[in-house]
Symmetry: C2
Subunit: 211 residues, 2 copies
DNA sequence: CGTTAATTTGAGACCATTCAATTTCGGTGG
DNA sequence: CCACCGAAATTGAATGGTCTCAAATTAACG
């Protein structure tokens, strides 16, 4: 399948809202997130994406991007022209199936994020985001001894959880004080997985890892 | 295509979280919504669905439901066995394309809801939900003179916007006082579409109606 | 009509925000 | 290697939007 390898610098945009879409990208290295900006300058991060994941599969059929995709500390991606992906999907049903499942799981994650920002308090919100990220990173082998790379700044974490940076800071301190996590620099260690899940009311069903 | 016509009573569950899925349903009459319950009894409504829409297309490939689907004031749906839908999709690429687009737009709506509950204040949240619903209802001809059927109770509206019922009530009053909407019984009239959109910071791009 | 569900109102408390200042950290050049 | 710099993290204090709880009013329904 034809693809182009692309490098993105720190905080670079991979897709911009309103742009006509032409291709889909898989992250090869680094992290990215989807986000929307509001007029007052505030930002909502909608999902975080890790290597091996598509960040914009919807570009396969939707002609205009409805949100931004931004990478975090520089990333590398494989960009595939829309037509190449579509024709492969039509030729090989198992590819189509995989793509569709990916889309469906994406949607499931979005639903859980609605619940997260809509109904959980600040501790649970942040804990939930960490649980999700830990599990997804584990599935691609990027967690070692309950420790993984956590590239988000506290401001970005705030934008992902619908909180302010200040309150995110205080909430993280609260989680640390309780011995749930350790967060230094860009490295996060889950000290007590069970209690973290408990605080987050985390149920991994929505990730559909078994499918 | 084989399907069963099903009737659902007031507040009846069409799909339950954790259940093994077997089929997909299209709403023929009435409204439904997707929701998740938290342990403390609080509920987050994730999306609202109107006639002609699939409520659980993800059941085509995901084997376990990750959320509940509940109808509002009684509804009627056409239930299609998973296999029938899948084999039709494989036979006829244009059907598959339509199904995939539907899934993608669904996901786009979820993303916008994340933004809504994550970053907008109570007035904007409710206004935004109303704008979205009005536009979608208009596209199937259910809006007349800027008036449409609004079946949600204030408690359900609260669960959809991540607010409490009390605060939803006060916010609705505020929108009424400003002459933006009229809401009596189960009938909603948009009195000033432009200003309502303004309050909501509504941009219909994410609905992808042109695709 | 009677009964329950839904809406409305009031008052007080609290979680999260805002704004501003300070400290720490990571990177860069002298 | 250290001084410097900007970004990120942290702290404090005051404000405010939303919540909680409880009661009263209105609407819906058999």
């Amino acid at each position: 399948m034809p693809f182009t390898r692309k490098r993105f610098g720190k905080d670079a945009y991979m897709v911009r809202e309103g742009e006509r879409t032409t291709d889909c990208s898989v992250i090869l290295r680094g992290f990215a997130f989807r986000q929307k900006m509001l007029r007052d300058g505030s930002r909502q991060i909608i999902s975080i994406h890790i290597p091996t994941e598509f960040v914009d599969l919807q570009n396969g059929l939707l002609l205009v991007a409805d949100h931004n995709v931004q990478c975090i500390n520089g990333a590398e991606a494989a960009t595939i022209p829309r037509e190449a992906l579509l024709s492969l999907a039509i030729e090989r049903p198992e590819v189509l199936r995989a793509i569709w499942i990916d889309t469906l799981i994406d949607a499931s994650v979005f639903r859980e994020w609605v619940v997260n920002v809509g109904r959980r308090d600040s501790r649970a919100r942040i804990a939930h985001l960490l649980c999700e990220l830990a599990l997804r990173l584990r599935s691609i082998g990027l967690v070692h001894d309950d420790r993984f790379d956590f590239p988000l700044t506290q401001e970005q974490l705030a934008d992902a959880t619908g909180l302010t940076a200040v309150h995110t800071n205080r909430t993280l301190q609260s989680l640390r004080k309780d011995g749930l996590i350790q967060l230094t620099g860009r490295s996060l260690t889950v000290l007590d997985w069970d209690r973290l899940c408990e605080v987050a009311e985390f149920d991994e069903l929505y990730l559909h890892h078994s499918v």
